[in-house]
Symmetry: C2
Subunit: 160 residues, 2 copies
Amino acid sequence: MNNHTATAVKSALDNWNLQLSRLNQLLDGLSDDQLLKEVAPGRNRGVYLLGHLASVHDRMLPLLHMGSSLYPELESIYIQNPDNKKNDFTPAQLREAWKKVNEQLNTQFAKMDVADWFHRHDAISEEDFKNEPHRNKLNVLMNRTGHLAYHYGQMIFLKK
Amino acid sequence: MNNHTATAVKSALDNWNLQLSRLNQLLDGLSDDQLLKEVAPGRNRGVYLLGHLASVHDRMLPLLHMGSSLYPELESIYIQNPDNKKNDFTPAQLREAWKKVNEQLNTQFAKMDVADWFHRHDAISEEDFKNEPHRNKLNVLMNRTGHLAYHYGQMIFLKK
């Protein structure tokens, strides 16, 4: 493993943590009432996007071979279905899930060697991975960082 | 340069191109009138965000040692100042700038070797870079990919 590889992984992790810290700072400054509002007229509510992000990150655990999802019950509400504008989980429950899931991910990330990031993720077979080595854990990390930035750009509209 | 390093660079470029293609697809489906609207009540207009993204990407050219900015005149309007809700540049001009800047970037990217991505960018001195080798061109690419995703998440609200 050369220095460039380690540097690339560090950059990907830095960018992941940057987006996480931005959203966490936003969440700290938003009341539960603000989270229950739509981010723009006719669009998803803050709670829906928070549940969506929590569930997408929760699913990263099995995808990256880091054990089972902690909150599998979020998936049908916050990924498979659109915002139904009801209160399925409370803002407090979603804040807690978001916190726990990211803590678990970052605990697991801290245990990884640089080389581990270039192993296949769980959505590609060993056979296919031989021809598509970029479908690895690092690529999942980069992709989810973009996904997080995308929804953070929407949730920031909850701020006055 | 080992395979892992090349794979990491490929993932970063894939994610950059993914976000670019998403925004370009959105732009193709939006009329100029739609672009002139605010993405949400009291927020930036689509044209402002397009000018902002065009200018930020334009500034990547000197930052990555790829020559001069093509549209330096965008910077004061779309980066240094907030949306003044006037039509500084027309939607057609901004679409053109956006297209040209990204074409120029991707032309330059295609000429780079994997190792080139680990050279310093222009905002860090050679001296400091010795101690902070992650402040390289690859990190700029990842960071700007997140920035693009963030604003794409807002511009998508221009769609009906």
